[in-house]
């Protein structure tokens, strides 16, 4: 409905100059924010204010601002991507906040995601997990016609549900063990549900899981916090499927 103005907000934010330095919270005041503005627009305004005051602006990751690239990654008032459901940080709007409120913003906190600066973390560990097997081993060219293998529509839809993962890392940030199981299981399900990906399903699951362990992500104790905070509603049933694939792979070793 009609936008209102939030006259005054306090922004308590994690400041850390680089990976090596020690971070701390700083609090800034910002005025006259429209409830129709997005959370990141509020951050832009705050940053321009800081620049004019001669303070180093707050570094945060973002790009598409449409909820699809997975770059934005703020931990707001104790929740990855903030107080709304099924949205990324960039889709969160200021109407979810009250005038006079103190908003606390932190980076993703996980051993495998070290801070680069302020709210920006290094998610290279996700890249490494996918490089360990998150693909179908085909080269360009020489593949059969796209309609050669019919695929059951429900399987294709389930595959798509899992493929919707944007690689943001909120699942890791939400998990008390910093487990990446939801992320890994989403890739494993996306490919295992399709005949093209099924061929390598077992080795894929095994390689990705061992890579995940190696990179310092924690184990899954089924707290389901990841599913609750995932902006793309990736289901934990994928984790069950991953566990099955993984077990079969280990048994057949």
């Amino acid at each position: 409905m009609a936008d209102k103005i939030l006259k005054k907000l306090k922004i308590k934010v994690w400041r850390q100059n680089n990976a090596k330095s020690k971070g701390k919270f700083e609090t800034y005041t910002i005025e006259n924010i429209s409830t129709g503005s997005s959370f990141l627009e509020m951050m832009d305004i705050l940053n321009n204010q800081l620049i004019e005051e001669g303070i180093d602006p707050i570094a945060f990751d973002h790009d598409c601002r449409e909820g699809i690239c997975g770059t934005c990654s703020l931990y707001i008032n104790g929740r990855p991507h903030g107080p709304d459901t099924e949205v990324t940080t960039c889709q969160l709007h200021m109407r979810k906040f009250k005038d006079g409120e103190t908003i606390t913003i932190e980076p993703w906190r996980a051993r495998a995601f070290p801070v680069i600066k302020d709210l920006v973390v290094d998610r290279t560990a996700f890249e490494k997990i996918l490089q360990a097997g998150g693909f179908v081993s085909v080269n360009t060219g020489g593949v059969p016609d796209a309609n050669t293998i019919p695929i059951n529509r429900d399987d294709a839809e389930e595959s798509m549900d899992a493929a919707a993962c944007i690689g943001c890392g909120a699942c890791v940030a939400a998990c008390k063990n910093s487990s990446a199981m939801l992320f890994v299981s989403a890739k494993v399900s996306h490919l295992a549900k399709l005949p093209q990906g099924k061929v390598e399903a077992k080795s894929r699951a095994k390689n990705m899981v061992s890579k995940m362990d190696e990179l310092g992500f924690g184990g899954c104790t089924n707290t389901q916090a990841c599913e609750a905070e995932c902006p793309k509603s990736i289901s934990i049933t994928n984790i069950a499927r991953l566990n099955r694939e993984y077990l079969v792979a280990r048994i057949s070793e």
């Binding site: 129709g36 503005s37 997975g70 949205v87 920006v120 998150g134 179908v136 060219g141």
Partner: protein, 646 residues
């Protein structure tokens, strides 16, 4: 001889690509292992190229400015990808896709390139399915198709409303596989700041490590630029915040010609600007126009009341609503092409009939289709879009009409390339949205994804061999060469210069000012006076920028303001060239509308006699006027006609 040798092969249209492939040189596997290629950008164009080249055996280095290749802006494409598969048995064909693309582009693209694009399009779908792209399917298990604007057949493949995401993930997986094999070295969070030439040939790049701030040198036997479009010159657009024209602009400064820069696409269905705090615009899929009716009030007093918030859309009875697209274009109605729909919305709003506080929005109303089909059907078709709209605007589009307004979306213009996708700098290639090649003055929906993947999977991997076959004796490029010294000095010098201005205003201040000038004068409707004004305005903004911009932080650290400053410095130059190009092209075609060249009813009027060419601008040095070259377009297979959607 002109510097513009398009290298279009001889022979009949349908045989050109095959003949060309047989005629060009091939590099042996043993020699490929000795050659290095740099690919800048990992969107659909760059990721597919980097993976395919690595599979062939070349040593590839790939770069992107995000923290992962998967985040390239291709990820945001919603609607779908075209291919001439004729799976629907509706008489689609390579020729029909070719024809639709040429006509949709208002006859300002090369026949041979567009035909090749249509010809390889079916292979793209095969490739994506083999990679595990979960395209939409029918109950029988075969692939489903959608229809898209401006065509009569159903040839668009899709993965829900996330086609770009799924295609990019497919290419990213192929890229990851090559990274894991050590065939591609990936540089995330690295921004290319210059191309390095040795003896006139592209031999590498200078890039800034965005985390450490270090300026680094990278050498290669060829450089491929796949860095996307420059729509952010307008500040507000549907592009990602980091999308930029800088890499292409450095190519231009190094001698690559820039073609048709004034051709940008304005998408009619975006969520309107909501005040002065806005940072970017969100696209609402074109498919909504299938079931939504576009209108504004008939009476100005109703519009005024809407603007003041005294009444709401539903207070206006049907007889007082002006369905202006249905009125003006009875045969296409709400489904006229993007450029026509955008201009019509602007015309109504300029006349004072806009429906939001700013007077810059029109209604897209689903009331009628909900009455006709039921809410369930509409929800099944557009549920996710309606939800996204509600999250952003807090208005429920099942109960009240959406508000929409046109926004900058895509750049048809870009780096000039020949049939091999090589620029006028030997060894420097440009693919995807960054080049100018296939869409003429207007791109059809679902054709950008097709082009990016065609270039990267099926065209460049062949054509680059023709050049590299003559480079097999060239040893590994030495990045200690004096040309690299000079390039690095220039890049560092520019960064330090920007950083040391220490003025009073943040980068955004200048970007917004540039965007406003561009939107007002180089936007949906252009005229000579406005374009000249834009050129003068931009010069002033540029002077102020270089005197008064303030970049905080440190040079040797992550510094988003510094990154933005470099991009905005280039946008200022790109904007000026766009205005010049628009001034030169005194005709209306596709997305480029010159008020001086309109019919009596205010429709676009092309001038084929004078303007059937690609404009190609050559850089002449800082502050110098660029030189205009022209590549004449020859049409041997289609007849030029005036588009009509009445």
């Amino acid at each position: 001889m002109s510097i513009l040798e398009s290298k279009i092969p001889a022979g009949p249209l349908a045989e050109k690509w095959n003949n060309h492939k047989s005629a060009i040189k091939v590099v042996s596997p043993a020699n490929k292992r000795k050659l290095e290629i740099i690919v800048v950008g990992t969107g659909l164009g760059g990721a597919s190229a980097a993976a395919s080249l690595a599979e062939l055996g070349y040593n590839v280095k790939a770069f992107c400015y995000q923290d992962s290749p998967r985040r390239a802006h291709s990820i945001a494409a919603q609607g779908g990808i075209n291919a001439a598969k004729n799976y629907q048995n509706d008489n689609d064909s390579v020729f029909r896709l070719f024809y639709d693309t040429i006509k949709g582009g208002d006859y300002r693209a090369r026949e041979a390139n567009v035909y090749r694009l249509a010809e390889v399009s079916p292979n793209i779908i095969d490739q994506c399915v083999a990679q595990g792209v979960p395209f939409g399917r029918e109950y029988g298990g075969l692939l489903d198709n959608r229809s898209f604007g401006g065509v009569l057949v159903s040839r668009t493949f899709y993965a829900r409303g996330q086609t770009g995401q799924q295609l990019l993930i497919g290419a990213y997986q192929a890229l990851n596989r090559q990274i894991s094999k050590g065939n591609v070295e990936m540089f995330n969070r690295h921004e290319m700041l210059d191309v390095v030439k040795i003896d006139g040939k592209a031999r590498g790049i200078i890039a800034r490590d965005m985390v450490s701030g270090e300026i680094k040198r990278f050498g290669a036997h060829a450089v491929v630029v796949a860095t996307g479009g420059y729509g952010n010159v307008f500040f507000l657009s549907t592009n990602a915040m980091g999308s930029n024209g800088s890499a292409a602009w450095q190519c231009y400064k190094q001698g690559a010609l820039m073609s048709n820069p004034c051709f940008v696409q304005i998408h009619p269905t975006c969520i309107p600007v909501h005040g002065d705090q806005q940072s970017k615009l969100t696209l609402m899929s074109e498919s909504l126009r299938n079931d939504g009716r576009v209108w504004v009030p008939k009476k100005k007093e109703d519009a005024v009341k809407l603007q003041k918030g005294e009444i709401r859309a539903n207070d206006i009875p049907d007889e007082d609503r002006d369905f202006y697209l249905e009125r003006r274009y009875p045969s296409y109605g709400n489904l006229v092409p993007r450029d026509v729909a955008s201009r019509a919305a602007k015309e109504r709003c300029d006349e004072g009939f806009g429906v939001n506080g700013e007077g810059k929005a029109v209604f897209l109303d689903f009331k009628y289709s909900i009455e006709r089909l039921g809410k369930d059907v509409i929800e099944a078709r557009y549920g996710n879009l309606f939800q996204m709209y509600e999250k952003i605007t807090d208005v429920d589009p099942y109960k009240e009409p959406m508000m929409i307004y046109p926004a900058i979306h895509y750049s048809m213009g870009g780096t000039w390339v020949d049939y091999n996708l090589m620029t006028t700098v030997p060894g420097l290639y440009s693919i995807g949205e960054a080049n100018f090649s296939d869409h003429g003055a207007n791109r059809l929906g679902a054709s950008a994804l097709m082009q990016g993947l065609a270039d990267g999977y099926f065209i460049l991997p062949y054509t680059i061999g023709d050049y590299l076959a003559d480079e097999i004796m060239t040893p590994k490029i030495d990045v200690k060469a004096p040309e690299f010294d000079a390039a690095e000095r220039a890049v560092s010098g520019r960064i330090e210069k920007l950083f040391n201005i220490k003025g009073s205003k943040p980068v955004d201040y200048f970007h917004k000012k540039l965007g406003q000038t561009m939107w007002d004068n180089v936007g949906m409707a252009r005229n000579a006076e406005g374009l000249k004004k834009a050129i003068t305005d931009i010069k002033e903004i540029r002077a102020e920028f270089w005197k008064d911009v303030r970049i905080p932080g440190e040079l040797n650290n992550l510094n988003p303001e510094l990154e933005k400053a470099g991009r905005v410095a280039d946008f200022l130059d790109i904007g000026e060239l766009m205005a010049r190009d628009a001034l030169d092209r005194n005709e209306s075609c596709g997305g480029h509308f010159r008020e001086e060249s309109a019919t009596e009813e205010g429709e676009a009027k092309r001038n084929d006699e004078k303007f059937t060419y690609v404009s190609c601008w050559e850089y002449k040095g800082e502050g110098e006027e660029p030189t205009l070259h022209k590549e004449d377009l020859v049409f041997e297979n289609v007849k030029l006609t005036q588009r009509s959607y009445k």
